[in-house]
């Protein structure tokens, strides 16, 4: 948790990115993204694949690298979501957090086609 706190502290670069309120993307298997969920500026909602029932929401962004991860590391707790774990990496970053009702969800950021970044909100999985 000390590492998590450190990473939250360092992620101030993301603080400057304004939170936008996009319309909630379609829900999957009854799981709906709450209104007001933080979405990084410029993220474009994408359709959800039918064969991925754990996927709650998907965006694409032209913000590659650390900025999207940094944004969510700060924006999630600021929006009232308790961050459980931060897992930055070379080709992917994952943040586990507690959603409303106590369920654990993940934000997964990784490279997508045409040089963009994909931002997924999904149900927790190991």
């Amino acid at each position: 948790m000390r590492a998590a706190a450190l990473l939250l502290a360092l992620a101030c670069a993301g603080c400057s990115s304004p939170v936008t309120r996009s319309p909630p993307p379609p829900s999957v298997q009854g799981t709906t993204l709450p209104s007001g969920f933080p979405v990084i500026e410029g993220a474009v909602p994408m359709p959800l694949a039918r064969d991925d029932p754990g996927l709650i929401a998907l965006w694409e962004s032209d913000r590659l690298g650390s900025s999207t991860y940094d944004f969510y590391a700060v924006a999630l707790p600021a929006a009232g979501y308790r961050v459980i774990g931060l897992y930055p990496g070379g080709e992917v970053a994952l943040i586990r957090f507690q959603a409303a009702g106590g369920a654990v969800w993940q934000i997964v950021v990784h490279g997508a086609a045409d040089g963009r970044a994909a931002i997924e909100v999904r149900l927790d999985r190991p």
């Binding site: 990473l7 999207t68 931060l86 930055p88 990496g89 070379g90 992917v92 994952l94 950021v109």
Partner: protein, 331 residues
């Protein structure tokens, strides 16, 4: 309150956990240690030991027949171990070696195919790579090509340069393959290359006891002997000679000339080296030194910290903020 009891309890729990998890105790070797100094750093992702796409073999031996991201374990085709850490955190050489390659020209958080790194070659024929470092102008590179580095010596500071989503250190262990005539990936975790299991930072210690846990009364102009014992909770063996030997020295400010220095002190700021020739991880090292009552009659306090001599200071807070209260009396 001179010691922090909570620290001792936490340390004992960690040691118990290491024994339970490790199916073995600390192994006293001069093998690799974790490449950073903060024991709170945890693993994001380990090496994918199966190079097949969409089939992952993680450091625990579990196979994942998918291309998904498994936090704390692995993601597909991952070539190293990822450790989350704040930007510009210190990064340490995992073992003695020579710097054979580096890059420091990319921005600290510049995204791209390439980033800043330091590569060290070791005498066992292996190489270690420290990747995503901060830019050289931002303090990301602390060494130069050809430089000899000691185990636990700082080689740079972390960043998020290159292919990087969130600040972390990407650490690789590479082994020369005669058959392939090339370096191949190794996994320090599954190979249990760390000096201890689970891996430890190079330098750490926990206060055990001392000759006088209360105030030392020294008649003015007299010399007394004081000793203190610390448990080696780091991954490196403490030695009394050679590079990086374990020393106790003045602190707050670091390496100040002590008014209590005695003739036997190696330096005005360094009281002594560890008494024993070597102290393995989990062993207890004793530091015996003299204190000379040179200052005028009065109450004082001299603060000390451990140092791997010429390599790195220990974390003073984790030592229990050790100091010796001293009263110089009329002889």
């Amino acid at each position: 309150m001179r010691r922090i009891a909570r620290r001792a309890a936490a340390s004992a729990l960690l040691q118990l956990a290491a024994i339970v998890i490790g199916s073995g105790t600390a192994v006293a070797t001069d093998d690799y240690t974790l490449p950073f100094y903060d024991p709170a750093v945890t693993l994001s992702y380990g090496v994918d030991r199966d190079r097949t796409v969409n089939r992952q073999l993680d450091w625990t031996g579990q196979v994942w027949n998918d291309g998904l991201t498994h936090y704390g374990r692995v993601y597909d085709q991952h070539t190293g171990t990822d450790y989350p850490m704040a930007l510009r955190s210190e990064v340490a050489a995992a073992k003695d070696g020579t710097v054979v390659d580096l890059e420091g020209g990319y921005g600290t958080t510049q995204f791209g195919s390439f980033g800043n790194f330091v590569k060290v070659q070791h005498t066992d024929g292996r190489e270690t790579l420290y990747y995503h470092l901060a830019s050289a102008t931002d303090g990301g590179i602390s060494v130069s090509i050809g430089a000899k580095v000691m185990a636990g010596q700082r080689v740079g500071r972390s960043g998020c340069s290159g292919l990087c989503y969130g600040a972390h250190l990407h650490f690789e262990l590479l082994v020369w393959s005669q058959a392939a005539e090339a370096f191949k990936l190794a996994d320090p975790m599954s190979e249990r290359r760390w000096t201890t299991w689970p891996g430890r930072i190079p330098f750490d210690a926990a206060y055990v006891r001392e000759s006088n846990p209360g105030t030392e009364y020294i008649p003015h102009g007299w010399v007394i002997t004081h000793w203190v014992e610390f448990r080696n909770t780091g991954g490196r063996v403490w030695r009394s000679s050679g590079g990086g030997r374990a020393a106790i020295a003045t602190w707050d400010p670091a390496a100040h000339a002590s008014p209590f220095r005695a003739v036997a002190w190696p330096f005005s700021w360094l009281a002594t080296y560890v008494d024993q020739a070597s102290v393995s991880p989990d062993g207890v090292g004793r530091f015996t030194f003299n204190l000379y009552g040179a200052p005028p009659v009065g109450s004082y306090r001299e603060t000390f910290n451990l140092q791997s001599y010429g390599v790195h200071w220990f974390d003073h807070g984790r030592l229990g903020n050790f100091y010796v209260p001293i009263v110089v009396t009329t002889p």
